[in-house]
């Protein structure tokens, strides 16, 4: 195995493990912390794919800002295991079964698809993820969605103000 393969497997295992920990942690603050670990692992993957800008922005925006606000809110709500509502056992069983079925179908479909075998992602190649090229693509070919995204944010902002103001 080459060095980048080792890093890839390490990051993947880390990402999956932390993602599972997000779900099974009893304490919501711990869940958030594991989620941050997931973001770090994903950023590592981005760097492997030579998408440095995406990796760093992922850290700044998700790990650095959004997750802090999550923590902020969770800390203020003072959630703990006692206040957690009891879930219906049947619902749990049904959920596990349907989720398991979906997983089985997906995995078997992926295994049977011939196109995926013997293919790995290009690691460390391609320069579209570099900040300069990304900027050029974003402001030439994809300038319309970029601008329209601002409409989306404006609408979300108006909405937040409406919801947030005192009646």
């Amino acid at each position: 195995m080459t060095a980048s393969e080792i890093i890839f497997w390490f990051l993947s295992v880390l990402a999956l493990f932390s993602a599972i920990m997000v779900l099974i942690s009893r304490n919501p603050v711990h869940s958030v912390l594991w989620l941050i670990v997931v973001f770090f692992a994903i950023s590592g993957h981005y760097i492997l794919l030579n998408a440095q800008f995406l990796a760093i922005v992922n850290l700044i925006v998700y790990a650095g800002a959004i997750m802090v606000l999550f923590l902020f809110v969770i800390m203020l709500m003072n959630l703990n295991t006692e206040t957690e509502p009891q879930r219906n056992t049947w619902l749990k069983v049904i959920g596990v079964i349907s989720g398991g079925l979906l997983l089985t179908v997906m995995v078997s479909a992926a295994r049977s698809a011939g196109e995926l075998s013997n293919k790995t992602a290009l690691i460390g190649a391609g320069d579209i993820g570099l900040i300069q090229n990304l900027g050029k693509v974003l402001f030439n070919q994809y300038v319309v969605p970029f601008e329209i995204t601002s409409v989306l944010f404006l609408s979300a902002m108006v909405g937040a103000v409406v919801i947030g103001k005192k009646d």
Partner: protein, 448 residues
């Protein structure tokens, strides 16, 4: 085109909003006939075609009627009337993107611009616990479906290497150029879209949200927004799903969804006590009928969808406009309405008949075109039979309202009804009957 939408977003109060809508409507109709006001190079991300323009016109017209009829109620529903109108304009902006998208990125943006203001509008009645609950439920479920949609788009990108709707297919592997990733992505995307149009089994949010939201906004959500989601869905089916028919049997999948949706929507609607909740379930049932258009996308289906949009939106807007004037939303609340408010009762009957699909109303031809689209395929005739059966079931619960209005004794309490409101309702009912007699009035536009 886009510029005009964004500029108009500042519409503040009822009259300005109505005026803005009118201008947009005129601009849109003119543009349908090839007069460009703005030319924006969208890099093939958006593509305005006849179908999209016509749909935009219908959506704008319906919104105009909606604002004229229930503008006062919107102003009453909270302190921030100006913001509510702004949010409605944002929703419209999303709808225009959806009717013209040619790229999955734009599909995502359109869906989001349409959905986010709706979450807010649902929760606009801040003192009402039910409204809050509805908003939170809608938001959480909506966010989840958005996640699925993004996942689907990402997988489709992985499978085809492009966000563009039309794909140049190169033959690789066993599926004649259709990648496994693309199929999985499409499935995810289908689930997310089915959620947006509230098709079973992804309909669970609909009754609670439609019931909890202030009635004025429910009427907007249940009509124009839903139709826009259908238009986005039909474009997706038209291009992507037809192209991948070799790899997966979409028809069977859609047939199952249609049957489920009709079953759940109609049967549950029968047992409702509140008219508002009944309408929520009936909107699921109507979604089942609109899904027929997706089953086999052809010209009849597209015409049908446009007609259905117009018929269903106009009728539902009318019913809700009357509903918000009622003091009591249960069936008992309608008892004896024909005696106290004959005009309201009469127009309401027309709207309900149209929803049920009785001949001479717009709803009849709408349903007819939908079923005709399936008949054209030759197979799946059983599906048409199921559709007709459930249409018959739906007559039952729509007639319960009519029965309550005309044949029950009671004193239906309403708020004060103005003369202009009555006039508006009569015009609306007239339009529905006109489309019901001469559906070509609307459809001829399609072939200009």
């Amino acid at each position: 085109m886009i510029c005009s939408i964004i500029v108009r977003n500042k519409g503040s109060f009822r009259h300005i909003a109505a005026f803005g809508l009118l201008i947009l409507l005129i601009a849109n109709i003119l543009e349908t006939y090839g007069k460009d006001f703005f030319h924006v190079n969208t890099m093939q991300l958006l593509q305005f075609d006849r179908f999209g323009f016509l749909f935009n016109s219908i959506a704008l017209g319906a919104t105009l009627i909606y604002v004229l009829l229930t503008g006062k109620e919107i102003e009453k529903s909270g302190k921030y009337a100006a913001e509510y109108f702004t949010l409605i304009f944002f929703v419209l902006c999303g709808i225009f993107i959806l009717s013209a998208y040619d790229n999955l990125l734009m599909l995502f943006l359109g869906i989001e611009i349409m959905s986010i203001p709706l979450y807010i509008l649902t929760g606009s009645d801040k003192r009402n616990l039910k409204s809050n609950e509805a908003a939170l439920k809608y938001f959480l479920m909506g966010a989840f479906s958005t996640g699925l949609m993004l996942m689907g788009i990402a997988l489709m990108y992985g499978g085809t290497g492009t966000f563009q709707l039309e794909v140049q297919r190169i033959s690789v592997g066993m599926y004649k150029g259709v990648s496994f990733l693309e199929i999985t992505g499409l499935l995810f995307l289908m689930v997310a879209m089915a959620f947006k149009v509230s098709a079973a089994p992804f309909h669970f949010w609909t009754p609670d949200v439609y019931d909890g939201a202030p009635a004025v906004f429910t009427s907007f959500m249940a009509t124009i927004v839903k139709a826009a989601a259908f238009v986005a869905f039909i474009k997706l089916c038209d291009v992507r799903m037809t192209a991948t028919l070799g790899a997966i049997d979409w028809k069977l999948l859609f047939a199952l969804i249609i049957v489920f949706t009709l079953l759940i929507g109609n049967i549950t609607a029968v047992f409702q006590q509140s008219v508002k909740r009944m309408l929520a379930y009936s909107s699921i049932a109507q979604a089942g009928f609109m899904l027929f258009a997706l089953f086999n996308v052809n010209d009849v289906a597209k015409e049908g969808l446009l007609l259905y949009t117009a018929a269903y939106s106009l009728a539902t807007i009318g019913i809700f406009a009357i509903l918000v004037k009622m003091k009591d939303y249960t069936f008992e609340g309608y008892n004896g309405l024909a005696k106290t408010q004959p005009v309201l009762a009469a127009t309401n009957t027309v709207f309900l008949l149209s929803l049920a699909g009785i001949p001479l109303t717009a709803g009849f031809f709408a349903k007819y075109y939908m079923l005709a689209a399936v008949v054209k395929t030759g197979s799946y005739i059983w599906l048409v039979v199921v559709g007709v059966l459930f249409a018959a079931v739906s007559v039952y619960y729509y007639f319960r309202v009519i029965q309550a209005m005309y044949f029950r004794n009671g004193n239906a309490a309403t708020e004060t009804i103005t003369f202009s409101f009555k006039t508006g309702l009569i015009i609306l009912a007239a339009i529905i009957i006109l489309i019901g007699i001469l559906p070509q009035v609307l459809l001829n536009w399609f072939y200009f």
